[in-house]
């Protein structure tokens, strides 16, 4: 009898878990849809400002090499690198967070081999946790990523400000940004993008030879364009990351729900077999008792 009760308890506990995973899957699906819309909405600005910055970077000549904008555009070789790592704030999303952390770790190892100093700025707790094991002292800050898109934009502005102030104080000379890109619900690809030195996005190679007229003089325009671009690129990365996280969570919870289904059916079979065995046993006892009389 106790075996039956234990099985019944397990079935009901797996059922409860299944309910939770299914609810989480549905929540992730709806959040994913919203996150994807936000990415689409922000993409145009990020792409255009990148093109504009590229054009200005090509045309500049008057700006002094020591200005913050120039340093951000060119990077300072031999200075420490700042690795900005975006990840989720929560787990339960498969290998999403660890994939990003792995990419950042590989980059850090490479920098280490080259003998360059580096530090981490984490946006999202999870990557911070993963990197803390090896490089506790190198994590300068862990910023919590926002939930809504307006929060994410605000966090992106804050992060960009931190990056700029690192450059300003000469604490770093290059900056890499790690985040995940949503490709499909099943695949989220972790990527590394160089925020400094400035690299043009692939496909933006239109080299117009036209002579530009800049108002006001390039230096001021450059300073504000470069800082805007930094904010926009971090924002689009964080938004893509948020979409990727929800996609990963959706898949993970879908798998969990399916596993729970399997488990329930296996446990139900075991339960039914045990019950049948007990009935048979009782029948045999009754029949043999009757025969003995």
């Amino acid at each position: 009898m106790s075996g039956l009760k234990a099985l019944r308890n397990r079935i009901s506990s797996v059922r409860a878990t299944r309910k939770i995973t299914q609810a989480m899957r549905m929540v992730a699906a709806s959040k994913l849809r919203r996150a994807q819309q936000e990415v689409e909405k922000a993409r145009a600005y990020a792409k255009e400002i990148q093109t504009m910055t590229a054009r200005l970077a090509r045309d500049r000549e008057s700006a002094p090499a020591s200005s913050l904008a120039s340093r951000l555009l060119d990077g300072v070789s031999d200075a420490p690198a700042l690795l900005v790592v975006a990840s989720g704030q929560r787990g339960l999303c498969g290998g999403f967070n660890s994939q990003i952390a792995r990419l950042a770790r590989a980059r850090a190892m490479k920098l280490n081999e080259e003998g360059r100093d580096f530090s981490f700025l984490c946006v999202g707790r999870k990557a911070g946790d993963a990197l803390r094991r090896d490089w506790e002292s190198r994590i300068v800050e862990v910023i919590s990523p926002g939930r809504s898109s307006s929060e994410i934009h605000k966090i992106a502005d804050e992060t960009a400000e931190r990056v700029a102030s690192h450059f300003h104080e000469g604490l770093c000379g290059s900056c890499d940004f790690f985040h995940s890109v949503f490709e499909s619900v099943l695949t989220q690809k972790p990527v590394m993008r160089s925020l400094s030195p400035f690299t043009e996005a692939a496909g933006a190679e239109e080299t117009s030879a036209a002579v530009y007229h800049y108002e006001p003089w390039t230096e001021e325009l450059m300073a504000s364009l470069v800082s805007r671009n930094l904010r926009a690129q971090i924002a689009i990365g964080l938004l893509e990351n948020a979409a990727g996280e929800e996609g990963a969570r959706m898949t993970a919870m879908d798998n969990a729900t399916r596993n729970a289904d399997d488990m329930i059916s296996r446990l139900s079979i075991a339960y039914n077999r045990t019950r049948q065995a007990m009935i048979t046993k009782e029948l045999v006892e009754i029949i043999s008792g009757a025969e003995a009389l």
């Binding site: 600005y45 007229h213 325009l221 926009a232």
Partner: protein, 97 residues
């Protein structure tokens, strides 16, 4: 009258949203050095936008937006208005007669 050979493709976007894109006949805005109007074959030009109104004239309609600041660029018949924030003004969609 023959149709204007080229119109000006434009995009008006903020960091969080794509506000409007299309083909315009002219765009007027306030730059760092004053008000300006650009047409389809304007020379390449880039400026910081000051807070003020942007007027986009399309065939048959004009659109008014107030922006808080941002960047403007025109090159090769394509204009990019990247504003920090945009508010559609009252006179949106006012028909040209």
């Amino acid at each position: 009258m023959a149709e204007t050979p080229s119109s000006l493709a434009y995009i008006l976007a903020t960091p969080s949203d794509l506000i409007r894109e299309g083909e315009a006949l002219a765009i007027s805005a306030r730059g760092a050095e004053g008000q300006f109007v650009v047409g389809p074959s304007h020379a390449p030009f880039m400026t910081i936008l000051s807070a003020g109104e942007i007027v986009i004239s399309e065939t048959g309609a004009r659109f008014f937006y107030s922006v808080s600041g941002g960047f403007f660029e025109i090159s090769e018949g394509r204009a990019r208005i990247l504003a920090d924030s945009v508010q559609a003004s009252e006179k949106v969609g006012e028909n040209l007669q």
